[in-house]
């Protein structure tokens, strides 16, 4: 009986033919496909991902082939060249966007204070937000799922200790925790790598709490009981039965959390503790443009819009995923 149930579970996971299952990946995909807003979110994510991946490959190419004229020209429009602009802070070479007097179509959105093309920097800034958003969230999810699942599955004192620790971590606002982590653990030399780990740690609590509550109900299932009765090791039960069957809401949370990660990292860079110059990053661009609110307000608009559109994509898709995975919503 118990084994039979497990069987149907697996069948529906595979989207078994002929069975009227309303769970499983194929069903979820179908629902997202029929949801216009979720589809739109997916398109936005795909577009951002494409830009991020292409610019990453390209940046590596230009680093490998540095010296070739066209690559160098591109590099100069995004990063500055230490020999040509030895002290970029002193020379003021800002240019407004083309529709404002003094702008030209050569640099459609103008240039920043170092004379670097604004559009190029916006495009290249995609990489940091996109990859940091995904990697940091994945780290938090990994840590949270491990801690939450162990905590919920074993219960008792393990649960008590782990949950107190998680609650403590949860009580420090993520941005504050990430700032303190990034600055002090890096030894006063903050870098985006530290930010990734900082955000990952800061997000452990939300994932741990969610999966723990799911595990508490899953561990009472007959198929877990059956596995335990047949002598399967706890670790394997957790890995093969408990975590996979508690995972759907975690996936939804992760999608929505990527948006939050991008927000936090943008805030971190805005304060000067995220991506370091000359790396192009939207939060960092806002930090610089903040100083030119009076003379060139346009500089502040574009990076914010880029952040808004990216996060909106993840939020739309996450909402759609939630609807698709929630059996109560038909």
């Amino acid at each position: 009986m118990a084994i039979g149930e497990q069987q149907t579970q697996e069948d529906s996971d595979g989207g078994g033919d002929g069975v009227e299952a309303n769970v499983g990946w194929r069903y979820t995909l179908d629902k997202i496909k029929s949801d216009a807003t979720a589809r739109f979110g997916l398109y936005v994510i795909a577009a951002v991902a494409t830009v991020a991946i292409v610019t990453t490959i390209d940046a590596n190419l230009s680093r490998l082939t540095l010296g070739r004229v066209e690559d160098f020209a591109l590099a100069e429009s995004v990063w500055y060249h230490p020999e040509r602009h030895p002290d970029p802070g002193t020379t003021e070479r800002r240019m407004p966007p083309f529709f404002v007097e003094g702008g030209s179509l050569e640099h459609p959105l103008g240039t920043d204070r170092n004379g670097r093309d604004y559009i190029s920097r916006l495009v290249y800034g995609t990489r940091i937000s996109f990859f940091v958003g995904i990697v940091a969230t994945a780290l938090g999810m990994l840590g949270g799922v491990l801690i939450g699942a162990v905590s919920g599955y074993y219960g008792g004192w393990i649960d008590d200790v782990l949950m107190r620790a998680v609650e403590t971590l949860y009580a420090i606002p993520p941005l504050v925790l990430v700032i303190v982590f990034t600055v002090f653990v890096s030894g006063g030399d903050p870098d985006i790598t530290y930010a990734v780990f900082g955000v990952g740690i800061a997000f452990i609590p939300v994932f741990a709490r969610l999966i723990r509550s799911r595990v508490l109900s899953v561990r009472e299932m007959d198929y877990v009981e059956a596995a335990r009765a047949t002598g399967v090791k706890d670790r394997d039960i957790l890995r093969r039965h408990v975590i996979p069957n508690s995972f759907a809401p975690v996936l939804v949370l992760a999608t929505l959390q990527i948006g939050v990660t991008i927000l936090i990292v943008a805030g971190l860079s805005f304060l000067g503790y995220g991506a370091q110059p000359p790396t192009p990053d939207w939060g960092e661009m806002l930090r610089i443009s903040h100083q030119y609110m009076h003379s060139n307000p346009w500089m502040s608009i574009w990076p914010g819009l880029a952040i808004l559109i990216t996060i909106m994509g993840f939020n739309l898709f996450g909402d759609g995923l939630q609807d698709a995975l929630d059996p109560r919503i038909k």
Partner: protein, 350 residues
């Protein structure tokens, strides 16, 4: 009675969490190589004797675990009981002493007293703004489900959760201060100060200026809260409106207005209150950024200044106090449950 005991219980439960916050922050800050005196004297030629004297003054010559016991205030207690080796230890957090800021050369607790009120003013007004706009809009959206008003509210909520608060702040400054010149772009006017401090003559003028200065940061910080509250309010109201007792009331011919107010609204507020408690943490993080954008001298800006100057004790103190504010905020939301939902029993025996 039950409520009092529940409150006491919640406060007791939060003690390990508060202790944990102090441990985590202390470890994080001290994970930095070198010590604060080296960093403070980095540009000066200091004699070893001077460095040793400063280290001794701040207790930095002790091993890390002793420093921690000193900081928490356990050494002071051990000393007061008369355990040798601890007698004469300085007071710590437990005695209300949050340490000494090397940069400001003032006790950390003193700095907090001047920096906490602006942050609380900002956060409370942001939440007031969020609740005052989100609750009516959420109810309206639920009432007119899938009609234009609902679609508009969903788009507003989506944009609200997807936009960085500090960018909203920058946009508001550019629009309302720089371009239109209607509102001031930064700093706050504190209503608890004397009007003459700002060159104002009457108390009313002071309040007027307070509001004018508060509007932009309030909206910038409150937008995210508004968006999340509106979403939950909407879905919670939709759920209530589908309940059987609402349909029954409708069948009995109770007016739609009364159904909304008496039957649907009140039970829908529980998830909203939970959300406000959970949102405190994102609001505090947002306050750090908003205070930087609007040059408000609150806790967030103090934290950033402490980090920039590598002021260890001030960094730990600010983070710990921010954590405490959050924990207290969550306790308050938990308790306010009782007032909204009399069914919540708080573990009393029947």
């Amino acid at each position: 009675m039950g409520l009092l005991r529940y409150t006491l219980n919640r406060v007791l439960q939060s003690i390990p969490v508060m202790f944990g916050i102090a441990v985590i922050t202390f470890l994080l800050v001290n994970s930095m190589p070198g010590n604060p005196v080296d960093i403070m004297l980095a540009e000066q030629e200091a004699s070893p004797e001077l460095i040793a004297a400063i280290e001794a003054r701040y207790g930095l010559d002790e091993p890390l675990h002793i420093q921690f016991l000193n900081y928490i205030g356990l050494s002071w207690i051990l000393g007061a009981v008369g355990i040798p080796g601890f007698v004469g230890s300085p007071p710590g957090i437990l005695q209300g002493d949050l340490g000494f800021s090397m940069y400001y050369e003032r006790p950390v607790a003193d700095l907090m007293l001047t920096r906490l009120p602006p942050t609380l003013l900002l956060m409370i007004s942001a939440f007031a703004f969020a609740i005052a706009t989100a609750v009516p809009l959420g109810v309206l959206a639920a009432k007119r489900r899938n009609q234009p008003a609902d679609h508009v509210s969903r788009v507003v909520a989506l944009i609200g959760v997807s936009t960085p608060s500090f960018w909203i702040g920058i946009m508001l400054i550019i629009l309302f201060s720089v371009q239109l010149g209607w509102l001031p772009s930064g700093r706050l006017v504190y209503p608890w100060r004397d009007p003459s401090h700002y060159g104002l003559t009457s108390q009313w003028e002071l309040y007027y200026q307070t509001v004018r200065h508060l509007i932009l940061p309030m909206v910038a910080l409150g937008t995210l809260q508004m968006a999340t509250i509106m979403r939950v309010e909407r879905s919670s109201m939709i759920e209530s409106l589908q309940k059987e007792y609402v349909q029954l009331a409708r069948a009995y011919g109770v007016s739609e207005r009364k159904i909304m107010r008496k039957h649907a609204f009140r039970p829908s507020q529980l998830p909203v209150v939970t959300l406000i408690g959970l949102n405190l943490t994102s609001a505090i993080g947002g306050a750090v950024l908003i205070e930087m954008v609007f040059s408000i001298n609150g806790m967030g800006r103090l934290l950033i200044q402490a980090i920039q100057t590598h002021d260890y004790q001030l960094t730990i103190g600010t983070t710990v106090v921010i954590g405490f504010v959050f924990v207290i905020g969550v306790i308050i939301t938990d308790i306010s449950y009782a007032y909204i939902d009399p069914r919540v029993s708080y573990g009393e025996e029947n």
